[in-house]
Symmetry: C3
């Protein structure tokens, strides 16, 4: 089956990084292990390694995200790549250039890798299907579909703190329906054999078929938190709060907010995660976000090493493709 996943090349190697769905445990573990090595690079005084020297990584951000863009930019710099920040919201559209034309131009400008962030689900897949085979595509978040590097940095953070996934109980709280972070996280947790994955949130923010993903659905946050090793909050988008999807942000906090009292229901050494930026007093109490159990900022830091791992793994495989092509031509 593996060769049919568009993420894999003709040699069965990971070539794009679009979603965690369909990646097996060995692949995910390989990324985590590589990231482990790169955290060492980040601790050293001189942080750069030459793995991607001479390569050009183009950041194609159709949606603003300082946090994610900066993390990818730093990861690319740590690997000694050249980075092109292409602001596609303001540039290409002015001249009425289509997305595909823009991609062709960036390909022709000899980019080696595209990092794509887009508000439409499926945008990174679309791009991966249309780029030249020598280019690697990383999904930096597409609509409500997937955010696989976020998913992997979440796994890395959990493994660092808790070790073996099989023994863990992980609770994900909030807007599961619209969250690409939740989708990627659940996918990875299930693949890695997590003991129990629980989701809890308002019924209006819960996918109808969520149980088919391999999770257990809770309506009561108090029950969901009991015995948890890992508590993951999700960002409640402002647009949900102003729509009729939830009664109000205050009401959400009263019913699903991660308060210090509720956190006590989890195991005493449970860690608290959140992809950021947090809405304090909506999803999470400020004191919990800043508290001893919070690993929210570690997630950000680990994101660099995890992205270095993904970039160097798929670029290494891309290199094999490029060499095969050159040998054939």
């Amino acid at each position: 089956m593996r060769n049919h996943d568009p993420q894999f090349n003709q040699f069965g190697k990971l070539h794009h990084f679009l979603t965690l769905d369909g990646l097996d445990k060995e692949t995910l573990t390989g990324i985590l292990d590589a990231a482990e090595g790169f955290t060492g690079v980040n601790d050293k005084k001189i942080k750069n390694v030459p793995l991607l020297r001479g390569k050009t990584v183009a950041n194609l951000f159709f949606e603003n995200s300082t946090r994610t863009r900066t993390a990818f930019e730093l990861a690319a710099k740590r690997l000694s790549a050249d980075i092109l920040n292409v602001d596609l919201v303001t540039s290409s559209t002015k001249k009425g250039e289509s997305l595909l034309d823009t991609l062709r131009v960036l390909e022709s400008l000899q980019s080696d890798m595209f990092v794509v962030r887009h508000s439409d689900s499926g945008a990174a897949d679309f791009i991966a299907r249309h780029v030249s085979p020598s280019i690697n595509v990383i999904n930096g978040g597409d609509g409500q579909h997937a955010h696989p590097t976020q998913g992997m940095l979440d796994m890395f953070t959990i493994r660092r703190h808790k070790g073996d996934f099989e023994k863990l109980c992980v609770v994900i709280i909030g807007d599961i329906l619209h969250s690409r972070v939740a989708r990627s996280g659940i996918s990875a947790l299930v693949t890695l054999g997590t003991g129990e994955v629980r989701v809890v949130g308002p019924q209006t923010l819960m996918p109808a078929d969520v149980e088919t993903l391999g999770v257990k659905v809770y309506r009561s946050i108090d029950k969901a938190l009991q015995g948890a090793d890992v508590v993951m909050g999700l960002r409640l988008q402002n647009e949900r709060m102003t729509s009729a999807t939830i009664p109000s942000s205050g009401e959400f906090y009263r019913t699903y907010g991660l308060t210090p009292e509720r956190l006590k229901l989890a195991k005493p050494d449970a860690i608290v995660m959140h992809p950021g930026p947090t809405n304090r007093g909506v999803e999470i109490a400020g004191s919990v976000a800043d508290g001893k159990q919070s690993v929210i900022l570690e997630q950000v830091t680990f994101g660099i090493a995890v992205r270095m791992a993904v970039m160097s793994i798929i670029m290494g495989h891309g290199e094999a493709v490029r060499e095969a092509e050159q040998a054939a031509s």
Copy 2:
């Protein structure tokens, strides 16, 4: 005469790159030959050469152009220069700083080269006349005047595919009147001794004195295409389409659009060029732009090597000036 061209320094060497008018065949061929060397650099795994290490290239873009800005940025990076992207639309004007004051500040910040893109014809010339003699200026497109690096990458593309210019018949189609690409292209084609250069387009988009440039004017695209080795489309600016200059974009396509049927009138091995971005269904059929004869994306790729060539040639000459100045001081 050569020493009176503001592009040349006191030693008769190319110092700025503002227009192809007045450059002789030897100079143009020298650039093409240097670019030939740099395409090798781009094919290598590690793409950077240290020719401009420690130099600072400032991209002064008064007009947005992701495509051209990115190509110059990559060329500078491949030469190991530091690059400053200075967005002049939004920055200096706010404080009411004049263009000359801004230039003086950038000079004082020890820039070695300015790449200038401006919607006013003559802007790059104005800047070159006013900067300190140690700074090299490259015109990245000024109004309807000139776009010399585009002209040279077009020549490079033609030479790569067709070899000797003297035997070639080149047809340029469309809005000759407002096109800096056409002006620079015609100038280079004539200097390089192209066998025949034909232009064809609506009378309203044809300069009154166009024949004095050394081209042959056609009213019928079908006649112009007969026996052509190279077919160059031009971008029809949206503002022309909405004005009374042409009846409509549909009418333009019917009369001057490069369709698959029309292309058959050219030689079977004719190449199709366009500076991009294309208006499919206006200047060119999508199937022609993407077809076997199209070299549109190669033009983009060759643009990096050509710009590396221009940058290193004029910077090398600038270096001579700087050394002479230091020796004298």
Copy 3:
């Protein structure tokens, strides 16, 4: 007293660079001496030194300033640091992220230094008080409070041209009240033992307690200029000109503008300084700004070496803290 200044770390070393107030003569002279060394680096053909290799400097500009941002960016590049330009006006606020959360994220992304520009007085201090102890903060200008790197480049320019501060008479003209440049300049001039520091300007633009700073207040520009070695103009903000604070820009020029005639009242070899951008015909005549005595553009150039000095000095000290922390952990 030194250890109580938030700019110094537990070892009594300069750790942040927020204001020149409270820095002693030895510290200021140390910066000027280090900058002297870096002007040599800038004259060399290859301008980069590896002092900050592997370090990440984040430019946090809450207020636009191409000039200052570019100078810091170049200084960081000359020191071989990686630079992150974080546009905070447009990015973080959209998602409702608080300033502190943004800082935490940037810290977690392993920045080593923040350069902060903000329209609010005290913003850099606030940030320095809240960042992790391993991060160095440089104030790139905060409201009407301080602009210490501008102050130091002014001192560097004066020392280069005039040598010993004790023998000098320096005149500062214009809007002292709202000028962070004036505040930082006066502080440094007094600390360095300048013979006489005079200020002159409209009473509405003069701080009530200005004499307590150690300067002599003049109402007549002609009297103030008599015998001056250094004449510093200040930028008159447009918002002052349109408010009732001064009668009009024409009136300001007649009363306080630095004309060629007035400049003759100073010593014949007096130098003319201005932080830029100048309002010609408001604070200063164009012929004076461009004249033989003007060192305005040299100030810009020296700004790179001075910022390299500040960055490498505080980063060197930051390094000591980081090593102490690693040894302790």
